[in-house]
């Protein structure tokens, strides 16, 4: 069983060619959110990959992000690479259903995950 998420644009081919790689990331995230919400609403049974709780590393990265630290700052503080920081924050954002990292931090604070 498949779900299909479609995007249409009024861009011409050249304009779309320039934009699509960046926009595609947003489309991927939106597709997943919409699908998750549809599954919740319609309560489909069967195999579902339940999003696990925020991991300790994700919580730590979110906390430092809430303090206004940059990727590189957080990388230095947590003694990991900037790429790994980015992955922790991206993962946290997805689990929180947030649209941006700022949104993720706010959601985390509201949920009591981060003080």
């Amino acid at each position: 069983m498949w779900a299909l998420f479609g995007v249409s644009t009024q861009d011409n081919e050249r304009e779309w060619d320039l934009r699509r790689r960046e926009l595609l990331k947003d489309a991927m995230v939106l597709a997943h959110y919409i699908h998750q919400r549809a599954v919740e609403i319609y309560g489909y049974p069967g195999e579902s990959f339940s999003l696990k709780a925020i991991t300790p590393r994700e919580r730590e990265a979110l906390s430092w992000s809430a303090e206004g630290k940059s990727f590189q700052d957080i990388a230095t503080i947590m003694r990991i690479s900037a790429e790994t920081v980015k992955a922790h924050l991206d993962s946290a954002r997805f689990k929180l259903g947030a649209l941006t990292r700022t949104h993720a931090v706010v959601k985390a604070i509201r949920a009591g995950i981060v003080r």
Binding site: K25, T55, S81, T84
Partner: protein, 202 residues
């Protein structure tokens, strides 16, 4: 020649999939002695070989598979969240923008690129970068042994190592992460001296 297929296409390309799973058995079971699932005594297939699984293949002129790798979205069940979780507790990510690469398998390939790496290995590296750019992937995570880590470095895509197993049967195996970007694609093209058509299975 690079090719991308997804698991649901197995009925469309039965011999190709069989060949890939046979290659994986040869590499992971016969040669490396890993504890992997063998089907019909012939194929290495596990629960992560699903309809939505993506496979990147490098084929030779006779359309034989020379190398293959498996890609999974970390927003779906994947190895780091399952069998690798206890080995790599710090590599727990879940995002549609982060994909996991596993089961890199290759046959002996005498065709060498100027960087000393086989054509098929270079092909897979470039295919992965292009897949990432085309399908909205921001980052890849994967496991690799030291030999594969050297290949990545020589192909212009050095892995940022997250952690390495210190002891036990999987000692020396690392988990790493890569950013996907147009710059990184260019770095791979330069390092490998490769220009291939990214051929997508219809």
């Amino acid at each position: 020649m690079a090719m991308m297929v997804q698991g649901f296409q197995r009925t469309q390309y039965p011999e190709l999939f069989d060949e890939m799973f046979r290659l994986r058995k040869k590499v992971f079971h016969d040669e490396k002695g890993w504890d992997v699932n063998i089907v019909d005594g012939e194929f290495e297939i596990d629960e992560f070989d699903r309809d939505d699984t993506v496979y990147l293949l490098s084929l030779d002129e006779s359309r034989n598979i020379v190398a293959s790798v498996r890609l999974l979205s970390t927003a779906s069940p994947h190895m780091f969240a399952g069998p690798f979780a206890h080995m790599f507790p710090d590599v727990q990510f879940s995002s549609p923008l982060i994909w996991e690469a596993t089961r890199w398998a290759g046959t002996h390939d005498r065709r060498l690129q100027p960087n000393g790496v086989s054509y098929s290995a270079c092909d897979i590296c470039l295919s992965a970068a292009r897949f990432g750019l085309e399908y909205g992937v921001a980052q890849f995570v994967g496991v690799f042994e030291p030999a594969l880590r050297r290949i990545y470095r020589r192909c212009g895509m050095p892995a940022r190592v997250i952690s390495t197993i210190q002891d036990g049967p999987y000692r020396g195996i690392s988990a790493g992460i890569w950013d996907v970007s147009a710059n990184n694609e260019q770095a791979i093209l330069r390092a490998t001296g490769l220009e291939t058509e990214f051929a997508q299975a219809a």
